[in-house]
Symmetry: C2
Subunit: 273 residues, 2 copies
């Protein structure tokens, strides 16, 4: 499909390996990633999958190579560890968008066209809530401008305490999650709050929280988000179509954005040069 | 049962409340906890349950009251957030042991007798691996002496980045977990490593990892523990009977201990005055 966009595709030499749940050992995956960052012919790095394992290699990235030759970089979910590391170490703006595996649905589906726009044009992304999303009712009035940062909530919490701490002061935080019971979502948000990550955040863009329900005497994930985000006292807009849902709109991280809960839009500036 | 030991039991005034999955609102639970810490007649605080919620109130503890009148404190699992906070803020040695709910099996069961020993005697606790435990095969030779610290691995990772960071340099780390798939156990250990918590740790005591298996092309939790702990290059002793298993031996945190993987013993000094 990427070929249909006129792109030349090169697969990492270890990309098809397996090591338990990982796509190869840490060394193999790191070698592929650094090889791509170092190769001047490579103009974009698209992650094939999320899953688990990025944090195991993130401190071995050749950040000098990234600084010397910035490239487009796209992925989400587990890849949040890489987004955060690239931002903290090199200030690279990246794209929070579908994995290459998730784009295999064909070049003309909405998901792919949105990804193509984010990767290959200078058009801003304008996103509105999807009323069918579980978090669509989440809205706290106001308008915020700031750099858009964040990603998978679980991976953000799993990054707390490491040397990668994005400065969210004045920023718009975007979060999504999958397969996390409400208490785990609460735990991640409380951890980030206790760690000071949310101090001074200008607004919160809430994406998809898929398969985050639980049985028993438990709040819904919507109630958890409403309580924890509501206490921040900043604009919040939920139901945005990014994350593990059917629609996975690509959007930039580390670029200026406007979150307007009143007009119900998230506008994100392009990443591409 | 506590009465059968000659103790006078006082229930927190909000102890029977419910607030979703929590035993009352944060304010209610915190009021009970601080009330107990402030009351000179209270000589021990026994947590009724684990579950989830301690980290939500931990920064509101009246640490001055704890410093002014140190008491015995016992619990585990989610209560790890309190153990860590009490240690970091006041250097209170606490007891990693059954919840009061978990003691309701009667005063003469092994679990209760062990808890009584930890709470009410000055006898050291000597613990040996239970060959039936899933982590019993985990053993890396050597002997380590140091203060014993740790608890529930998930809660330790959820504390990373907050102001509560126990100094594990020269200490023996103890860990247990429940209901965490192997990748989540790996994630917690990688987070603690990346956050520097494990730098200089003298040894690791591994307890029960209950319901931590997963289907699919995944390592077992034993393999995850062997890889992550093996790379530390320190003595490791698995299969110890603390955690969410049937046997839950109480033992002190913040007290001197000896981990001897060669003789297969963990010896922990008493907490009680």
């Amino acid at each position: 499909m990427l070929s249909a966009w006129g792109l030349r595709v090169r697969l990492g030499s270890n990309a098809l390996r397996r090591y338990f749940y990982l796509a190869g050992t840490d060394e193999e995956r790191l070698a592929d990633l650094n090889s791509a960052f170092r190769d001047p012919d490579v103009r974009a790095v698209l992650c094939i999958r999320g899953g688990y394992g990025a944090q195991r290699i993130v401190d071995g990235i050749d950040f000098d190579a990234v600084r010397a030759d910035p490239k487009l970089f796209m992925g989400f979910s587990d890849i949040t560890a890489l987004h955060v590391a690239l931002w903290c170490e090199t200030r690279l703006a990246t794209i929070h968008g579908p994995t290459a595996y998730g784009l295999a649905t064909g070049p003309d589906c909405t998901r792919a066209l949105d990804a193509r726009q984010a990767l290959m044009t200078r058009d801003p992304i304008v996103m509105t809530p999807d009323e069918n999303e579980g978090t669509a009712q989440l809205r706290l009035a106001g308008r915020a401008e700031g750099v858009l940062l964040g990603g998978n909530l679980t991976m953000l919490a799993a990054t707390a305490g490491t040397r990668h701490r994005p400065d969210l002061n004045g920023a718009i935080l975007m979060i999504e999650a999958t397969d996390e019971e409400p208490y785990r979502v609460d735990r991640s948000l409380v951890q980030l709050k206790r760690a000071g990550w949310l101090d001074g955040v200008a607004g919160v863009a809430v994406g998809q929280f898929t398969r985050c329900e639980d049985d028993g005497p438990t709040p819904t994930v919507q109630q958890v988000l409403a309580e924890q985000l509501g206490s921040l006292g900043v604009p919040v807009l939920g139901g945005l179509p990014f994350g593990h849902g059917e629609q996975q709109t690509a959007l930039g991280l580390g670029v200026p954005a406007i979150l307007d809960a009143d007009t119900r839009t998230l506008t994100v500036q392009p990443v591409g040069q």
